[in-house]
Amino acid sequence: MKGRVRLDDVRKVYRRLAMRGRLQSLKGALLHGDLVRGLKANEGFVAVDGVSLDVAPGEAVALIGPNGSGKSTLLKLISGILKPTSGTVDVDGRVTALIELGAGFHPEITGRENVLINGMLLGLSRAEVETKLDEIIRFADIGEFIDQPVKTYSSGMFVRLGFAVSVAADPDILLIDEVLAVGDAAFTRRSLDRIARMRREGVTLIIVSHDLDLVGHLADRAVYLKQGRVVLEGLADTAAARYRSDVAGDEAGNEAASAAPVRVIEEGRRWGNGDVEILKVSFSSGGVAMRVIPSGADCTVHIAYKVNRPVTDFGFGLAWHRADGTSVAGHNTFLDGMEPVRLEGEGEMRCHYPVLDLAPGDYVIDAAIHAREGLAYDYWCQAARLRVTSAVEWPGVWAPDHRWETDRAVFSGEGTASPTR
C-alpha cells in the first residue's frame, strides 16, 4: 500500500577510517586489490542499532532524541540516501526528504532552472514541473526573482523556494528533518499549514525535530531514540514527556548528585527516579469508587502517592486519551498555577470534574508527578482505565450539555437532548 514504511531490525554502521586507515586501504587497494573489503570494515560508529518501525499510510510519526541518537540517519535510511548495514528498509510510494532546503541549488543559474532540476531530481518529469511552476513560485513568494540567479536570493527566499519545490513533488511519504526552524515565523506558519494540508490528503509524515511542542502538534506517534536504539515508542506526548524527563534528569545529574537517575519501571509505560511513587490511580463519582461512570455525572480522579525522598519542586499531571490513543485532555498543577511547597509522607491528590461531559467509550489516563522542567518522579502511562456510558451513542469525544432551538413548530415535543442528565 502506498505510503507504508517498514523497518526491520535496521542497523547502520558508519565506517570510521583514520588517516592511517585511509592510507592503508589505498596501499591495500593498489597491492592486494582489497579496496572494497577495506571500505566495508565492520568496525565503526554504530548510528542506528536494531531499529524496527512500522508506519501506516497516512500516519504521522516523529523521531525524537538527543543529538547523535540516530534520528537523521534513520530518516536518510528511509529516504534511500543511505543503505542499511543490515536489516531491511521497505518503503512504498514516492518519498520526498526535506533534509536541507534548497540543497543542490546551483548559485549561478536562475531560480526557474533550479526548480526544474530539483523537481526532476525529486522524480517529477519535465512537464510535471512546468505545470506546477506557477504554484511553486506563488508559494515561494519570490515574484520576479525566479528569473534571477539563485546567488542573488536572500536566505529566506532560498529556503522558501526549496520548500516549495520539495512539497510540489506530490510525495506519498514526506520526511522532514528539522527544516522548519530555518525560516521566519511567517514561513514556518505557512509551511506547517501546507504540511497539515498534505496530512489531510493522506500523506505519511515522518519528522525529526527537537521542538517537542511541534512534535506533539504534528505527530500521532513518536519514537524516542537514544544511541541508535528505540527507548520508547508511543503516543507523541508520552514519548516527548519521557524525553523531557530524561533531559531534565541528565541536567540535574550534571549540576549536583541531588536527583536520583530516571529509570524505567515498566518498559514503555512507566518511568521515574523514584523520589515519589504513585501507588494507585482510581476514579469515583458521587463519593463512591467506580470504574464505569455515566456521561454527564461528576468524576474525581484519585492519585495515591508515597514520597521516598521529600521534594520541593513537583507537580501533578493527568492526560486523558481514548483507548485508540486519541488525545482528549491534559492538565497539570503547573499549568493551573499551583505553586509547590513541599511533598512528603503519603497522601492522595484528587482532581475533580463537576461534569464529565465525555462521549461514551473507553478512556485511558496517564498520571505523573514530575518537576517543573520535566524530570519525572513517577510517570505512569495508562495508569487507569475508565468506561463512560450514555443512553445515546454520541460520536466523538465530547458530549456536552446542549439544546436545539427553533422559533417554529417543526418538531413535536421537546426532544431528549443530553438524555443522561
Binding site: R15, R22, I81, I99, A103, E108, I109, N118
Partner: protein, 265 residues
C-alpha cells in the same frame, strides 16, 4: 549495464544537468557560448604560427602540421578535460548526493557529456580550417569527417568508463585528481598525438606505443578528421573493444563503490 540502465532512466535529468553545467559555466561571461569556439580557435592560431614560422616539423602524413596536431588535440582535450572534472564531480555535487535521493552515476555522466558538447562546439573551427587548407591546396579536404560520430563512440565509452571509476575513487582518495593529471600528461606523450607512429625508429618503443589503447582511438579519429581515409577493420575493433572494456570495468568498479559514496562525500 546497470549504470547504463540508470542513466537511460534518468536521461531527461542528465540532459537538464548538462545544460545547467554549460549555462553555469558561461553565465556572467561576456561572450557566453562563443568561448567554446574561441578557445580552440586561439589554440589553432597559436599552433599555426608556431609550427609554420618557428618549428617546421617534417613528418610524413602530418602536413600541414598545425592542422594535424589540432585534429589530434581536439579529442584529447575532450578526454582529459572530462577525466579531470570527473575527479571532483561527486565531491562538488555532494550536497545533492547526501540530501536528495539521486543516482550517483549521473554526475560523472554529466561531466563527460558536457565536455562532449564542448568538443562538438569546437568542430566548426576544425571544419573551417580544413576547408581553408583545401582551398589553398595544402591538404585535400577529408570527406571522411562525416563519419566522425562513429569515431566518437569509443572515445565516449572510454571517457565514460574512466570517469565513473575516477569519480568514485576520488570520493575516497582525494588526491586522485593529482594522480590523474600526472597520468594524463604521461599518456599524452605516450599517444601519437603530436607525432605519428611512422616517425618512431626504435622497434621497442614502437611496440609499446602500439599497445597503448589510446593509440587506436586517436588513429581512428584522426584518419577520419584529418587523413581522409577510413582506418582498417582491426583498428576499429581495437578502438571499439577498448571502449566497451573500459566502460564495463569502470561501471563495475562504480557499482562496487556506490553504497559507500554518500557517507564519504
Amino acid at each position: 549495464m546497470e549504470a547504463l540502465r540508470v542513466l537511460w532512466r534518468h536521461r531527461a535529468l542528465v540532459v537538464v544537468l548538462v545544460r545547467r553545467e554549460l549555462a553555469a559555466r558561461y553565465r556572467a561571461s561576456l561572450l557566453g557560448y562563443f568561448w567554446s569556439l574561441l578557445n580552440p580557435l586561439m589554440l589553432l592560431a597559436v599552433y599555426a604560427v608556431v609550427f609554420t614560422t618557428v618549428f617546421k616539423p617534417r613528418m610524413a602524413g602530418a602536413q600541414p602540421y598545425a592542422l594535424f596536431l589540432f585534429a589530434g588535440l581536439l579529442p584529447w582535450l575532450f578526454f582529459s578535460g572530462a577525466l579531470l572534472d570527473a575527479a571532483v564531480t561527486l565531491v562538488d555535487n555532494g550536497s545533492l548526493l547526501a540530501k536528495v535521493v539521486c543516482p550517483a552515476e549521473i554526475f560523472p555522466a554529466v561531466t563527460v557529456l558536457s565536455h562532449l558538447v564542448h568538443h562538438i562546439l569546437a568542430l566548426p573551427v576544425l571544419l573551417v580550417a580544413l576547408a581553408g587548407c583545401a582551398a589553398a591546396g595544402w591538404h585535400p579536404f577529408p570527406w571522411t569527417i562525416v563519419l566522425l560520430p562513429l569515431a566518437l563512440i569509443p572515445w565516449l565509452l572510454t571517457a565514460g568508463g574512466l570517469a565513473l571509476a575516477i569519480s568514485a575513487l576520488a570520493v575516497h582518495f582525494r588526491d586522485i585528481r593529482d594522480l590523474v593529471a600526472n597520468l594524463l600528461n604521461l599518456l599524452f606523450f605516450g599517444t601519437p598525438i603530436i607525432y605519428t607512429l611512422h616517425g618512431i625508429h626504435s622497434h621497442v618503443l614502437w611496440e609499446l606505443l602500439r599497445l597503448n589503447p589510446m593509440t587506436g582511438l586517436i588513429r581512428v579519429y584522426r584518419s577520419l578528421a584529418f587523413g581522409g581515409y577510413i582506418a582498417g577493420p582491426l583498428e576499429w575493433v581495437i578502438a571499439m573493444g577498448t571502449g566497451v572494456i573500459v566502460w564495463l570495468a569502470g561501471a563495475w568498479l562504480f557499482g562496487r563503490l556506490r553504497d559507500t559514496l554518500v557517507e564519504a562525500v
